[in-house]
Amino acid sequence: MSTACITINNGNFLPSYTERAVSDDANKLRDTISKVRREIFESVSIGEIDREIEIALKEITEECANDNWDGYGANAINVNSLIEAKRFTDTLPTTLPLPEVSVDPDGDISFEWYVRPRRVFSVSIGSDCLLSYAGIIGLNKVHGEEFFGDEIPKTITDNIQRIFS
């Protein structure tokens, strides 16, 4: 007998995988994962985080829907970045605190974790699945770019965890 297992990656036990497989088994597995996801996100603690991020994304989308939303000539919110941002939050480890949601002048969504001065980390979600991150963690400074594939790159989850450690 074989059993389907869901791996625990970077603290998220329900990663939002991209959908490439087309067989009957793959479809069944996808349906099962979706069902489990729905049930888990109906829980108060996990579901609340998900709902809060959804509300923040909705509010920021309304605020930045048009060009020049900041009075300095910023681009309107990038729809592809918004889609990727949603996938990013679905993939985010459920053990991490809620980030603050913002929009960059180029229209990309960004998530920021702030603990106190010199404990801050931010990730911008590019429409091309490119994550631009930067952070100040005590005397250390980090920045770079990572491709956002099936899961959030470990460099990013590690840095988020560093600011809370």
Binding site: I60, W69, G71, S102, S132, I136, G144
Partner: protein
């Protein structure tokens, strides 16, 4: 009393407003510059007052004529109401509300290998220049500026 008020108004009109002053095109390290904040992406509006802070988004540059720059105003020698007048007149004219401002010394900007270049267009206007090309490096510089900036709200 009314006569005195009228006299004062007439008297004031003879002199140019300080916020319209064209300043020299050199900045000094101890000058303060302001970035007007117009969005929740620029500061944390939901935090309680002592915990409110400037976000890096306030200082993120925009590409203008092939160069990255962040628009700011020089505020030394101005009263508070005159500083806010600049924000209302120059930034809020595009139907955006000015929520607050981030004040920072030129010296702090210089320490991040960035520089302030005044253009006096409009008067007292300047740009923070010298930004790196890579977005993540820009974010880091903007985070460092946000950390050193003072958040101010209209009284």
């Amino acid at each position: 009393m009314k006569f005195l008020k009228r006299l004062l108004t007439t008297f004031k009109e003879f002199f140019p407003k300080k916020y319209d002053n064209v300043l020299p095109l050199e900045v000094t390290n101890n000058e303060t510059i302001s970035r007007f904040l117009t969005s929740r992406s620029h500061y944390s509006p939901n935090a309680p007052l002592p915990a409110k802070r400037v976000k890096y988004g306030a200082f993120m540059p925009m590409m203008h004529e092939g160069k990255w720059e962040c628009s700011v105003f020089r505020i030394d020698g101005l009263r508070e109401d005159e500083v806010w007048h600049i924000g209302e007149a120059q930034i809020a004219k595009s139907s955006r509300k000015v929520h607050g401002r981030a004040d920072i010394q030129v010296l702090s900007i210089g320490k991040k290998s960035l520089n302030v270049e005044p253009d006096n267009n409009p008067p007292r206007h300047a740009n923070i220049k010298g930004w790196p090309e890579e977005k993540s490096a820009q974010k880091l510089k903007a985070q460092e500026l946000a950390l050193e900036a003072n958040l101010a709200f209209k009284a």
